[in-house]
Amino acid sequence: MTMTADTPVASESIFRRNLSNFAANRLAMACALIVVLFAVMAVFAPWIAPHDPNETDLFRRLQPPAWIAGGEWSFLLGCDALGRDILSRIIYGARISIFIGLAVIFVATTVGILAGLAAGYLRGWVDILISRLVDILLGFPYLIFAIGLMAMMGPGLWNIILALAYKEWVIPARVVRGETLVTRELEYVEAARALGASRWHIMLREILPNVLSPVIVVATIRMAHVIILEASLSFLGLGVQPPTASWGSMVSDGRAFILEAWWVSTFPGLAILLLVLAINVTSQGLRDAFDPRFSE
């Protein structure tokens, strides 16, 4: 639709228009709210959690949730094999999941954007190098290599982040490269070159803002994936080390008692499910809002 000069339109950027599109999607908004709640929970864990997550109490060993006979309302979701409060551990575990998820996505997206921009805009040997590297990394089974790396580097928060980001950047890199290849041929990029703009200016100021939307969408989708991967590593005992609470290790801890004390594994498992689901629906909503085919 064309607008005429006489139509009074508020100055509105495409980005903001996309966001308002997103806001109109109720389900996605609800899920975004869930994600935000989890984040708040992670940040304010010490104030929210009813108990110390690492405090053991052998009298409360495998105590059931409050609504089952033998449960207590002050230990809402029951206790694990060492008598630690499951709810408090889930709340603290959110810190690990969300922090690792964000850190991995941040590192991977930054690296991926730079690599993708360089490959897509500079072309030539830079492109060949980066694209080959991407192809090779894509050939590696993700989890198996992460396991190998963790075994090599030993446990630790930063090592987990490295072990997950080593390949994660490939995904934003491919998206950015593809978008850059298209965008670089557009006339406004040519116009910037005609005006004497440097490569850096063109890559960072002209192209980057226009390829960012799909990257944001991909980053949220991958965030869910990384959270699952981190949980898998922790499940296998290669993640954060005990006694630090992590959803993955909590599921793993409860494995042995799954028949007599189902709640030990089930509640952290549900937490993973809920967060991942909420992130995925949010990213769907973002994609719908940012994809020009859905917005007018």
Binding site: M3, E187, A194, N210
Partner: protein, 336 residues
Amino acid sequence: MSLLKVEGLSKHYEGRDGIFDRITGREKTVVRAVNDIDLTVEKGEILGLIGESGCGKSTLGRAILRLHEPTKGRVTFDGAEVTALDPAQMKAMRRRMQIIFQDPYASLNPRRTVAEIVGLPLRLHGLAKTDAEAREKVAAICARVGLKPGQLDRYPHQFSGGQRQRIGIARALVSHPEFIVCDEPVSALDVSIQAQIIALLLELKREMGLTYLFISHDISVIGYLADRVAVMYLGEIVEMGPVEEVLANPRHPYTQSLMSAVPEVDHAGRRKRVRLTGDLPSPLRPPSGCKFHTRCPLATDACGKIVPKTETVGPGHTAACLRLAENLSLLEEVPA
């Protein structure tokens, strides 16, 4: 001395040869988009460049500005050899040579406001000392091209095609260039808006002493505003000369058929028609000899073998056709 001189300029795009091609030893595909072109543009004149889609008009304009690095040949601007400049010198040169694009939608960054878009050249070349001075210069040029001050902080999608083209013109002019490649600046616009932009470009040229290379596929537009015209076919210039002379007395059969194909309001039904058969050949596999011979109603066997030389046929008027001497005209051959 001419302001712009182009000598033997070629631009070939090489197709990517994949591993498969290398193994099978297949030859690289080469698109000869622009082939060995000579032309000059005098200071203060408008050289019109006309031809069908895909004949290499945009490529020529971009190669002159080194937006696409020429494969061969030399471009000289105001005594300086553009094709030999190093990157720093080239950047300085870009301030003096500008381009206006065809597509008013693709040529503006959708995430920048008008003020940012038009102010970019000032920033890149350090032409304004303060932000306030930059803003002032931007506002002045935007007012000149017919945008309102209140519109400076809007985004491109809030404008119509004609207004967007005005933004593109303001961006090209804000650094006070001397020479502008106008790459079909009005082709995407409606007739009434097209007339507004043509009038604006002509006024600006007079006021600022500009020189244009004006690319178009519309012979009436070129006939109206250009001083000289160059007719392109498949990467080569087949005819060039003063506009009045070329329109009144076209010597190349391609120019003749181009002219007869244009539907005109004034001469409806009273003109002789030349029927060109077939489509434009692919520049991947251009015909041998004269490139027009596959569609030319006057072609002989020789035309498929011999490449015609460019000959002078009148004052400042050149054409490249084997049968020039016979003085044939398609326009007369077809009965009214």
